[in-house]
C-alpha cells in the first residue's frame, strides 16, 4: 500500500515506521515511571494537542483565520460539567453530547461568517470568543456558575471501574489523542482533506471546478469544533472543574500561534508547537514573571527565522 511511497526512503523509512509504535508502547510506562506532576503535564499536553490539531483543521488545512477556537473547547467542557454536576449524567454519556453541541455551535457561528475574507473572519471569531466568555461569566440561564465556574466534575467510569487516578486519565487522554491523530491522517488522505487544501490554496479555482466552498468551509468548522469539544470533556475531567478563564481570547491566540509556530497542516509541527506553547510554560512555572515576556520574544524570533513554522509540512507528491 504505502510501500511505493516508502520505496525511496528504504531503511530510514522502515526505522521511522518502527519508531512510532515503539514510542507509543514506551508511553504506556509513563504513569509508572514518572512523578505524578509529570504525568498530569503530559496528560494536559495530550488534551491541548487535540485542541491544537482541531484548530489546525480550520486554520492550517482549510485556511480560515479562526481566532476564537477556545470557544468550542469551552463549549465541550461546559456541556460535560453542566450535565455531570447538575443532571448527574456519567461522563461518558456527556461526551457525545459535548461533541455534538460543540459541532453544532461551530456550524451556527461559522455559517454566517465563512463568506468573510481573511482578516474580517479573524475579527468576527475574536468577537465570538469575547461574547462566549462574557456569557459564561455572567451565568446565562443560571447554569454556568458565573466567573468562578463549576466545581466537582466527576470522573469517568468504565463499567464499575472509576478512572480517578492521574495515570488512568493519562491513558484516556492519550488514547483520544491517538484516535485524533488517526482521524487527521485519514482526513489528509481523504477527498474532504484535499478539498480543504484546494480551497486554501485557491478558492476561486476550486469553486470553478464545482466545489461548494461554503459547505466545505462550514464542514471544516464543524469537524474542528467537534474535536475541540471532545477535548473539552477531557479538560473538565482532568481539572474536575471549568471556569471562563480557561477559554479566554488569549487561549485562542495561543492555539492560533501553535499552528503557525509549529507549521500549518503539519501534524508533527502542531504537536511540537503545543509542547512549546503549553508544556514549556508549565515546566518553567517558577519564572512566571518573565515567562510571557520571553514567550513574546520567542514568537517573534521563530516567525522571523522560520516564517513557515519550525516543522513545516513536507511537500507531498504532485
Amino acid at each position: 500500500m504505502a510501500a511505493a511511497a516508502a520505496g525511496r526512503g528504504g531503511r530510514l523509512a522502515l526505522a521511522r515506521r518502527a519508531l512510532g509504535p515503539l514510542m507509543w508502547v514506551a508511553g504506556l510506562a509513563v504513569p509508572i515511571v514518572l512523578a505524578s506532576s509529570w504525568v498530569s503535564i503530559l496528560a494536559i499536553f495530550a488534551i491541548y494537542a487535540v485542541v491544537a490539531l482541531s484548530q489546525d483543521i480550520v486554520l492550517g488545512r482549510a485556511g480560515m483565520y479562526d481566532m476564537g477556537h477556545a470557544v468550542y473547547f469551552g463549549v465541550g467542557a461546559y456541556v460535560t460539567a453542566i450535565l455531570n454536576t447538575r443532571f448527574h449524567w456519567p461522563i461518558f454519556a456527556t461526551w457525545p453530547v459535548a461533541i455534538v453541541v460543540a459541532a453544532v455551535i461551530g456550524v451556527a457561528l461559522s455559517a454566517p461568517i465563512v463568506k468573510l475574507r481573511g482578516d474580517y473572519l479573524l475579527v468576527a471569531t475574536i468577537g465570538f470568543n469575547i461574547i462566549f466568555v462574557l456569557a459564561m461569566s455572567n451565568d446565562v440561564f443560571g447554569l454556568t456558575g458565573g466567573p468562578d465556574g463549576i466545581f466537582g466534575v466527576g470522573v469517568p467510569h468504565v463499567l464499575s471501574l472509576a478512572l480517578s487516578s492521574q495515570g488512568a486519565l493519562f491513558y484516556l487522554d492519550w488514547l483520544v489523542l491517538a484516535l485524533v491523530l488517526l482521524i487527521m491522517r485519514n482526513l489528509e488522505r481523504s477527498r474532504v482533506g484535499r478539498v480543504f487544501r484546494y480551497l486554501k490554496e485557491d478558492e476561486l479555482a476550486a469553486t470553478t471546478l464545482g466545489v461548494d466552498a461554503r459547505y466545505y468551509k462550514i464542514l471544516a468548522f464543524a469537524i474542528g469544533a467537534g474535536l475541540a469539544g471532545a477535548a473539552g470533556t477531557l479538560f473538565a475531567v482532568q481539572l474536575a472543574s471549568v471556569s471562563p478563564g480557561s477559554f479566554v481570547f488569549t487561549e485562542s491566540v495561543t492555539l492560533f500561534a501553535i499552528v503557525l509556530v509549529g507549521g500549518q497542516a503539519s501534524i508533527p509541527g502542531v504537536l511540537l508547537g503545543t509542547a512549546l506553547m503549553f508544556v514549556v510554560p508549565q515546566v518553567f512555572r517558577g519564572l512566571a514573571q518573565y515567562r510571557y515576556f520571553a514567550f513574546g520574544i520567542a514568537m517573534i524570533l521563530v516567525m522571523v527565522l522560520r516564517p513557515q513554522g519550525i516543522w513545516p509540512r513536507r511537500r507531498s507528491g504532485p
Binding site: I113, L116, R117, A124, I126, G127, Y290, M299
Partner: protein, 300 residues
Amino acid sequence: MDVVLQQFVNGVTVGGFYALIALGYTMVYGVLKLINFAHGDLCILAAFIGLSVLTTGIGGANAGALMVALAFVVAAVAVGIAGTVLELTAYRPLRKAHRLSAVVSALGASMLIENGIMLVWGPQVKVFPSNLLPHISWSFAGASISFVQVLIIGGSLLLMAGLYYYVHHTRFGTAIRAAAIDQDAARLMGINVNRVITSVFIVGPALGAVGGLFVGLYYREAYFNMGWIYGLNAFIAAIIGGIGNIPGAMVGGLLLGLFNAFAAGYVSSTWQEAITFALLIAILLVRPTGILGERVAEKI
C-alpha cells in the same frame, strides 16, 4: 434630555481616544494589510511613560501645564521610536512571508510589550494622582463637561485635523495614500515605500500614544494588560469606519464611543463588550468594508 446630552459628552470623549488609537491600526493596515496587534499595548505603554514623567520630582506635586505637555511629548516620542523598532525587527523581515507569520509576530510583540510593562512598572493598577489636571467643570443644558474631557475632545480633534491635512494635502501624505492603494505601482512612480512604512510606524504609534495617555488621564488608572481591550475597541472602530481609510477611523472612533456610551447607559454595562462585538459582526455581515470604505472588487 440632560442624561442624553451627558452620555453624548462622555461618548465623544471616549470616541476621541478610540479614534486616535484607531488611526494607528488603519494606517498600518492600509499600507501593509497587517493587523498590528501590538498597537494597543504601545498606546498603553505611553500611558505608563506619561505617568512616570508626570510623577517624577522635576515638577513637584503641582506639575503645571508644562509638565503635562512634556509628558505627552515624551510619551509620543518614546512610543514612536518603539513603533519603528518594532517594524524593523518584527515586521520588516516578514514582508514577503505568509501573511499569518506577521500576524503571529505581532501577537508575540503584543505579549512582549504587555509583559515588559509589567516587569518595569509592576502588576498592580497604577493610579494617576488627582492633582495632575485642574478640577474644573462647566455645565450647560443640564450636562457637565470636565476639564479633562475638554482636553481630550479638543486634543483629539486637533490631532485628527492635523493628520488629515498631512495625509491629504502634503506630498508625503500623497505618497502614503499611493502606497496604500498599490505598493508596486507606487514604487514604480519613484515613491520610497520603505520610508512610507517607517513613517506610518512613527505617526501611528505617536498618535496612539496621545490616545493612550488620554485613557490614563481620563480613567486615572493604568494596568499592564489594558492594551488588549482598548486596542480591540479601537480596532473595531477602524473597521466600522472602513479599515485602511484614515477619515473612516476618525468617524468610526467617534461613533463607537457614542455607541458604547449609550449602550452602557441604556442597555447594560455588564454586556457592553458583547454588544460592541455584536455591532461589529453585524456591520461585517452587512457592509464589511465599513461605513466610509469603498466597495472594491476582490483582487484575483
